[in-house]
């Protein structure tokens, strides 16, 4: 057909047929597409493998934090030593020398130990928390006085590392923190069935401690809880109200444009800046207490507000104008239209934005540094003004501790934090899927 054309009208320049052009470089274009797909796949594979490596590393290091080694002591509570007059007065019982009881118990188990240095090594088999544990037990159960019973006390963090197999027994004695005689004692105790590892409840029920075997995340968890409550109570209503006003009521003029641009800018401001602001305003000017979840919550409110306002406005925008027009058309006032018709439809989107903002706030450390929440706090906070830290700060503090056993505690705390973040994001996805309406 082409040939016909060319013979019939030789003056018309020969134009290549489209199909020829298509066929000519089809291989090249297909190859380009395949290459592009390959780049995409490689990118995804890399991203997944990084996440996988991260999770594998954290779980591998952190799984040990959830178990703890315990050593059994057969304690005889001599009435003469604890409560000589038999009064069972809690003050008298609390004053007894439990430290000494634990130590003499260890000496009795290994009577061959004589030198001062050896004794120190022996005492450091069990945690320094053992005597407090014994004291608490006797206070609660005075009937144990005068009896012998078996008490499982946590092993010292170095011994715990040995039992869990993190310490290489083959390297020279001088190069390890665990001495040969300590290994021999632990092996002997193990043969006697006096060593066990079990789920570490302390990790979830105690505050921070400088002894890794006594350290827990409850203090940081309740700090995070109080901080996020303040953040949620403040940022959700303020954010939603601001979004509703800007989206539904505010006139479109220069001023609202400026406000809008600034809200978008604020969302990208580094969080440490909010910390500095919090220090200047809440602590120095309003004289609120340092290290308190109240101030932390206020600072994080400043940080999450832009996120919530932006997502709430997007949710309001996605409600079709027909709904508004129908409501107005039926005689609803503007406020009735917004609160009875638009808001309920936009709420799932707003909640999703809020949860994501909260998850962001949960993982934040930098702004809290400035307001004194990066601190060593043992007592579990019980109010909005008690000094406290939050989970990511606890991770930061443990990562900086010299004792080896805190490595696994750090990863363990990261696992808990990740679990919370994943749960919160899953709830956000669930709300979006379940409640969001498509128009």
């Amino acid at each position: 057909m082409t040939e016909d054309n060319s013979t019939l009208s030789p003056n018309i320049p020969k134009r290549p047929r489209t199909i020829d052009v298509v066929r000519k470089n089809i291989n090249k274009r297909n190859a380009a597409e395949r290459r592009f797909q390959l780049y995409g796949k490689v990118a995804i594979a890399l991203a997944i493998s990084f996440v996988f490596i991260l999770f594998f590393d954290i779980i591998n290091k952190g799984k040990g934090a959830f178990v703890q080694s315990y050593i059994a002591l057969d304690i005889y509570l001599d009435e003469q030593q604890i409560d000589p007059d038999g009064t069972r007065d809690p003050a008298v019982i609390a004053d007894a020398n439990y430290f000494g009881i634990i130590r003499s118990n260890l000496r009795e188990m290994f009577p061959e130990v004589s030198s001062r240095q050896e004794r120190r090594n022996l005492y450091s088999l069990v945690s320094s928390g053992a005597s407090y544990q014994l004291a608490d037990l006797v206070r609660e159960h005075p009937e144990y006085i005068g009896n012998t019973f078996r008490l499982w006390v946590p092993a010292d963090d170095d011994i715990d590392m040995l039992i869990k197999g993190y310490i290489d027994r083959n390297i020279p004695e001088d190069d390890r923190r665990i001495k040969d005689n300590q290994i021999a004692w632990i092996d002997k105790l193990n043969e006697e069935g006096r060593v066990k590892t079990q789920f570490n409840t302390t990790f979830f029920t105690a505050g921070d401690s400088r002894d890794a075997e006594l350290a827990g995340i409850l203090g940081a968890l309740s700090g995070s809880f109080f901080t996020l409550i303040v953040t949620l109570l403040l940022s959700f209503p303020i954010g939603v109200a601001a979004a509703i006003y800007l989206e539904e009521f505010a006139p479109q003029n220069r001023l609202t444009d400026i406000i809008e641009v600034n809200i978008n800018n604020l969302a990208a401001v580094p969080s440490i800046v909010f910390g500095l602001l919090g220090l200047a305003v809440f602590i120095n000017f309003f004289a609120l207490p340092r290290s308190a979840p109240l101030v932390g919550g206020l600072v994080l409110t400043l940080m999450t507000l832009p996120t919530i306002i932006i997502s709430s406005r997007a949710a309001l925008k996605s409600v079709p104008p027909a709904i508004r027009e129908a409501a107005i058309g039926l005689g609803a006032s503007k406020m009735q239209m917004v609160f009875n018709h638009v808001l309920p439809l936009a709420l799932p989107g707003m909640l999703t934005g809020t949860i994501i903002g909260m998850a962001q706030a949960l993982g934040e450390t930098a702004p809290l540094l400035m307001i004194g929440m990066v601190a060593f706090i043992v007592d579990v906070p019980s109010s909005f003004t008690d000094p406290s830290t939050v989970l990511p700060v606890q991770i930061f503090l443990w990562a900086d501790s010299p004792e080896r056993a805190f490595v696994e505690k750090t990863s363990g705390a990261i696992m808990v934090l990740l679990a919370f973040l994943i749960t919160m994001n899953a709830v956000a996805v669930f709300i979006r899927k379940k409640l969001e309406r498509r128009w």
Partner: protein
Amino acid sequence: MNKLITSMAATALLTAATVGQAASRDYVSIVGSSTVYPFATVVAERFGKSTSFKTPKIESTGSGGGLKLFCAGVGVEHPDITNASRRIKQTELDQCVENGVKEIIEVKVGYDGIAFANSKKSAQLEVELKDIFLALAKEVPDPKGGEKLVANPYTTWNEVNPNLPNTKIEVLGPPPTSGTRDAFVELGMEGGCNQIDWIKALAKDKHRTVCHSIREDGAYVEAGENDNLIVQKLEANPNAYGIFGYSFLDQNSDKVHGAKVGGVEPEFDAIANGEYPVSRSLYFYIKKAHVGTIPGIQEYAKEFVSENASGEEGYLSDRGLIPAPSEEHQSYQKAVNGLEPMPSKI
């Protein structure tokens, strides 16, 4: 809508209620050095468990940051005690007095050695302070001779001193905000610097710039305040050296070893008796005006200086604190018991 208003009202109430509470404080608030932090926290925890007082709150702000907060004034919103890995400076003391913090009790708790360590996979280094200075200073005397300073030309250790190994100079250390860095510069760098006579004879200002400037061409890597990170990096890179406190060397003795400085190993006894050249004192400072107002300050300080804690066989020595000689220790015990303030001029 109603819910919204109630939750806002609840928050307002809550804020109002807590502002009232801020007027008093029933726990000791401590700030300061990240080097003293691991020791102070142990004391605080034991103190909280064994007494009826609340456990003190300890923030790790660095020595300088701590003193700044400490000297900001008297009142519950200001800290009661600050830890320092160096002595308070006259300027800081003046600042304190200016802000009404007139009586300060100085307590030395012990010593800390600064280790210059590398991985156990490579050989232990034996250096002199002068080698450290030549390897790390920004400007060094011209290797060709003469009293002239040139930008540090050394890239390997054996260029500095033929007895040292032929490896690249790569040192991981803390950033300038750290007290460890201050002490390393003052004791290590300056000590080495003063072994070169003509530099020692320089005018004070010039001497300071020469001795205190660390090279910025990549041989000295600022590895952040996290000493654990430095230990991990040394393990990964056997040719690198790291600068950190003795307690980290002690805890990681299976992974890293400290260089002999001036022929002395960084060991407990050598640091305690001052033979090891790079060791410094650790202090804490008590605000006398707060004693009696905030419960537990003096009791906490007593616990810290007790024989059981910072004494020779105390539990802090297990954590890597080098105790002060017993005479010195007793003098600080006396200062705490009698609440004897330090002089306002040092």
